[in-house]
Structures are given as C-alpha cells and as structure tokens.
Symmetry: C2
Subunit: 395 residues, 2 copies
C-alpha cells in the first residue's frame, strides 16, 4: 500500500513519448502542438490602414492644408497605389495597404466629403495616426506559439494566418478499455435481478474523449484462461490498457495474477486513498496497465487523478494546479487521502467547494450532482471551512 503522492510519482516516471504526427490544422483543436510556430512574414505584413477614411501626406496638414482632393481609392486586398500629388488624398479602407507617399489616415467620422473633396474637421491630427506599421505586432521569424501548447481556437487562428495547413502534434496513445465482471450486461439489454449494465467503460471512453483520445472497448468474462489469452494479445497491440474491476481480493479477481503470469511488472497495488484504494498499476516494455477498481466512482476518480497526469506528462504539457475553498467543515477519520465530491462555484474571485453527499463509491448518480473532487490529505481528520485544497474538475 503506497501513498497518493508515491503512486502519482511512480506513474509519472512511466510517462512515454508516443511520437508526433502531422494533421490538418483544422482538426488539431485539443491536441498538443509539437513544433514552434513562426511568423512567415511581418505582422502586419505592410503598413496597414486601421480606419476607414482618407490617407494624406501629413506635411500638407502641418502646413495648414485642410481640404484635399480625392485622387483615388485603396481598398483592402488591392495592390499598393501611390499618392501622386502630396496635396491630394486617397480614400482608404481598413485592412488596406497604406498608399505610397501617404503617412496618416483620417477617419470618415472626422471628415466632410463633397464633390470629390474631403475636408478635415478637427485640429488634433497626428503624424502616422490610424496606421498600424509593418512588423509592429511581430517580426518575420518570431516564435508565435511555442511547442507543447494545447491547441484551442486562438492557436487555430494563428496557424491559419501563417499558412500552417498541416501541423505537427503529439500522437495519441492507442488505448483499449476493458471491463470484466460476469454481473455486467450491455446497455441495450434488460438485466436480470443479479445483473447490472456495463457503465464504467463508457465513462472512461468519455473521460478520454475529453483529452481527444479515441479508444476502443472490450469485455472479458471472469474466466482466467480466457482473460490470460486475451490480455496477452492486448498487451502487444495497445500502448495503454485501462481495466475496470477484478483487482481486489475476490475469488474471481484474477487480474493481478494474470498480470504476473504475463510478466506485467507490478509497480504498485493499492493506494492509501478513498475511494479507489485497490488500484493496480504495472507495465511491460511497450504497454502501461491501469487496473482501476470496479466501483464506478473509484474508476472515475482514479482515471482523473492518475491517468490524466500520466497523459499530460507523456504529451509534454503542464497543467495548472487549482485549489478550492471548503464551504463547510468536513470530518474524515480513516488514515487515507480522501477524494471528496464537491460542487464548485465562484464568489468574488474565489473558487468555493461545497461537499456533495453520496452513498459511497457505488453511487454513480451522485457524480452528476457534483462537478469536481477535492483532495483532502491523509493524516488529518478535520478539514475546516475556509481552508483550500487541490481540486480535480470533471465537468
């Protein structure tokens, strides 16, 4: 039996690099960037007009001129034209190149336009106003996004801008989720009195989907030779196996023994925590084996508390640790780390956690009334209102 901290460290030490792949940028949301994204040109790439109006030579204004003949028009997306006569002006549109020989833009709101002449009304015109100079935001060659960033909508915009139609991202591990337990029937079936429907595998599928990891599922009956034969194959075919159930002390909890016979190196079995104590973790040279206890909440919390950090480390991202403030006193006597279900809310910039009472690790429905766990440390029994603790969100 090891502590939560030791278990986590052991698991993080087995993080693996699954390599990189190139995918279309528009499919890369939720994936981890594996190349630095560099400006392919200056941004803006030209002296960019930032208001609709007219462009002038500021010297003319400085010399007292207020009315300018409109010599031409420079729309966005057109080649740069030239202001031929420095006493004239050119109509310009937001996003256009500033015409050659012009250097200031006066917006329509500050103009009177009549018969092809624009008159500037206010006096407070300054040199280079309403022009966004070439290269002001970023220079060609600047790193715009560093690798190891989780790609979201903001990154998608940058990837499009620099022409990265394909982008290098971390490959996802190939994962199989396996349920065991002869009491389980399919979701479509009507269980007999002593049976229940499979649910943990689907919960795990959804928790992986949250990380954009596709996964497959399988069910194996509680029959040792069958388990052994199937798992031997799966260990070859997948990077990660997630089991739910059959790791405790029951007569048909064959997994620890099967793992041993298949040379899965046991790294630990059982953690001083509630729920989720009889968690088995092991590995072969090519496969990481997470043996979650079969109770729904045990599987759920262990996936979040151990598989998620293992994945984050494997793909190279850092995740901010969050803490939340307890809204009421909690007493927990066992000498175990307690993952307490809570409902989070926000009050004046504080994240507060209200405990949700469930009926223990079998009460799946209580998960929907909460939205996170807070992690109360082992070795203490009283946790006071107002104290803050690490929080693991799940919705």
């Amino acid at each position: 039996m090891i502590s939560v901290e030791q278990a986590l460290q052991t698991i993080l030490n087995t993080a693996q690099n699954f390599g990189v792949e190139k995918i279309p940028f528009i499919q890369s949301v939720g994936r981890i960037l594996k190349e630095d994204i560099v400006a392919d040109r200056d941004f803006p790439p030209f002296n960019r007009v930032s208001m609709d109006g007219i462009a002038i030579d500021f010297n003319a204004f400085k010399n007292g001129q207020r009315t300018f003949k409109i010599e031409g028009i420079q729309p966005a997306g057109s080649k740069q034209i030239t202001l031929q006569d420095s006493e004239n002006c050119i109509e310009v549109m937001t996003g256009a190149v500033l015409p050659k020989n012009a250097n200031s833009v006066i917006r329509y709101e500050d103009l009177e336009i009549n018969n092809g002449f624009a008159r500037i009304i206010p006096e407070g015109i300054s040199d280079a106003q309403n022009v966004h100079p070439k290269g002001k935001d970023r220079k060609q060659g600047d790193v715009l996004i560093q690798q190891n960033k989780l790609i979201s909508a903001a990154e998608i915009g940058v990837l499009a801008t620099v022409g990265k139609s394909k982008v290098k991202v971390a490959k996802q591990p190939k994962i199989l989720i396996i349920s065991t337990g002869d009491e389980l029937v399919g979701v479509d079936e009507t269980p007999l009195e002593h049976q229940i429907r499979r649910s943990n595998v689907f919960t795990l599928v959804s928790l992986l989907e949250r990380l954009n990891i596709p996964s497959e599922t399988a069910h194996i009956t509680d029959d040792k030779p069958v388990l052994k034969q199937k798992i031997a194959t799966y260990l070859q075919e997948y990077d990660v196996l997630l089991f739910s159930g059959a790791v405790s002390k029951g007569k048909f909890d064959f997994l620890p023994q099967v793992f041993e016979e298949l040379q899965v190196e046991k790294l630990f079995h059982k953690i001083t925590q509630r729920p989720g104590k009889p968690f088995f973790y092991g590995k072969t040279d090519t496969c990481n084996v997470f043996g979650f206890p079969g109770n729904p909440i045990s599987t759920f919390v262990n996936c979040l508390a151990y598989f998620y950090p293992w994945y984050y480390k494997s793909v190279g991202i850092e995740v901010k640790e969050e803490t939340a403030i307890l809204t009421e006193d909690v007493v927990f006597k066992p000498n175990l780390t307690y993952f307490l279900q809570v409902k989070l809310s926000y009050k004046f910039g504080h994240l507060v956690a209200t405990p949700i009472k469930g009926n223990g690790s079998g009460d799946l429905a209580s998960l929907v009334n909460a939205d996170a766990f807070i992690q109360l440390p082992k070795g203490e029994t009283e946790f006071k209102k107002g104290e803050n603790f690490p929080v693991i969100r799940y919705s």
Copy 2:
C-alpha cells in the same frame, strides 16, 4: 450605439428553440440533455455485497459462534443462492447478491480459512455490515439527471446504467460562417504583399466546435450583387449566419446595406465596447445574423461574449458566472466596456487575472499568450489590483 448590457439582453431575447433529437448515448458528450433520466430499478438493485469475504446469519455470531463451514460460493453476476444452514457461511464476492438467509458480510482480511472452514478473528462484527441494501442509493422512479444538463462523462455512466442507449438532446442550430474581404487568401496559398490569409472563419469554427456545434464556411468577395444574392440564399438555409468583417464604415462594407435590402431586421449596430465595437446584430423570422467586425480579436471576443450566451439560452442551460481578481492596476480612459486579455492562474482558492499586453484588435498572436478576457465596466477609468471582474475563458 448601445451598451454591452443592452446588446446582450437584445441577443438573449432572440434565443430560439431548435427542437430535440434522439442520438446514441455514447455520442452525447457535450450535448444538452432534453429529458429527465429516471432510475429504471432500485440502486443497488439487490442487497449488494460490498466486500469480498463470507456471508453469515448474524444471529449465529451473536450467539457466540466464530467458525463457519463454507457451504457454497456466490460470485458477482450469479443468481441468488440460499444459505441452507444458519450455522454455515457462503463465500461472497463484491458486487454479488447477498445470499438468502444471510445478512452480514465479513471480509477476507478478518478471516482465517482452513479446510473449508472460515474463522472470524475480530469481535467487532455488526449486523448487516458490508451489505449495500437494495434501493439505498436511489429508488426506482427517482430522477437521476434532470433535463437541461450538459452531458459529460458522469452523465454517460448514469445513462449506461439505466439502459438509455439513445437519449434526447437539444438539436444544434445549423450555422454558416462567412468571411468577406478581398484581401483574404486561403491558408494553403502564399499571399501577395497586400493580402493576408483567412483566419477568422477557422477561429469561429473552433469556437463552435467547443460547443459541439458543427458548422460550414463560405467566402464571398466584396461585390454587392454577389453578396446580396448569396446571402439571400443563406438566410433561407441556415438558422444562424456568422459574418466576419464588412460591417464598418468602409466603402466596401456592404453588409449593413445588404441586410437592409434583404429585410434582415437590424436589432443593433455598434456597441460601446473595445475591442469589437462595430458589431451588427439582426434577424429574420428564421435566421439570426451575427455580423462580427473583421479584426481577429473583435470577432473572437464577440463570439464568446454574445454568441455563446445566445446559444446557452437557446438550448436551455445556465452557465455559472465566474469572476477573477486583477493582479495589477489597469487604466482605461475611453468610455467603453473594455474586454481585457488576461492570463488566469490559481492562488489559494483565488482565481487571479494578469493582463497580457497586445497590440490592439489586430494582434491575433497575443490571444495565444492569454487564456481569457475580463470585462471592465464602462464609466470607470481606473481598475485596481485586488478588485474582481467577470471573466470569459477561452482555453
């Protein structure tokens, strides 16, 4: 020009119900549940053994008996068997039905088993221990999940458990994202000096994907008859049109005029905010038209600040408002609501927001260095370190 609050209220007033559809439960993550989910049986559905060990008649123990002959075994997933002799015991596994005539379970850790007999070591055995009584968590007919909940992994587990292989969810609106602007070229193309690549449409696609809304994209050149003809068709075919650009004062900003000619009812044009001021919002009987300004950050913030709440209201979910605490003083003089880019972090249960300096609404790359906006109200110019303000996260 209207305020942010008026604009938001106007938009919320146009929220629409797009009906419901039934989809496979495993595809429902991120969708909005549109039926109450009810327990199809008691949970647990039988008196459930919650530890591996033996089941006994507690009366025998109370009468002083400590050694019990093992009469049989009750695995999980097997029909309930009967304890034939109340001085015997039955080996039972976690998840099994408690055998008939038995009422207490003693775990293996508290037993010595030899030659078919189990001896109970400790004295502190209590009636009904390690048994999870039928119906203790939930009764048949109890509502386990109320409708209008966003479905995540926890809900998936409950849906599986009660056999909801298909589930009723809110239909998503049918959305087209349209870019305009002749300066735009494709992501795969190499822009000429006066051109830039399309990026806002892809950012919007990703922002919708975050809400599990699929969308289509189109580009229309800055040509009024073409715009008018195409938009006339799109207004018929889609529930929502999201435009980026062509809503300002430029000579080629045809959209407001085209909308008017196509009988799109203008609800507002321009909001007292920065960035994103020249936002147009209108509707027909069947289509909602969001005309976002073309600058990348304007489009981005307006999608989050207006489209998202419109969507949430349309599908019937409530979203918790979050606030964050400023880490430094901010001065903003214009009489506008200021959406300031910030980087969020967590400190002792506090959510703190550090301003990220960008180069204005054109500086798309600055979005990747921040992860949220905080909303600083109009009418004030100094915002102090330690004050808290509403926050809109985007990554």
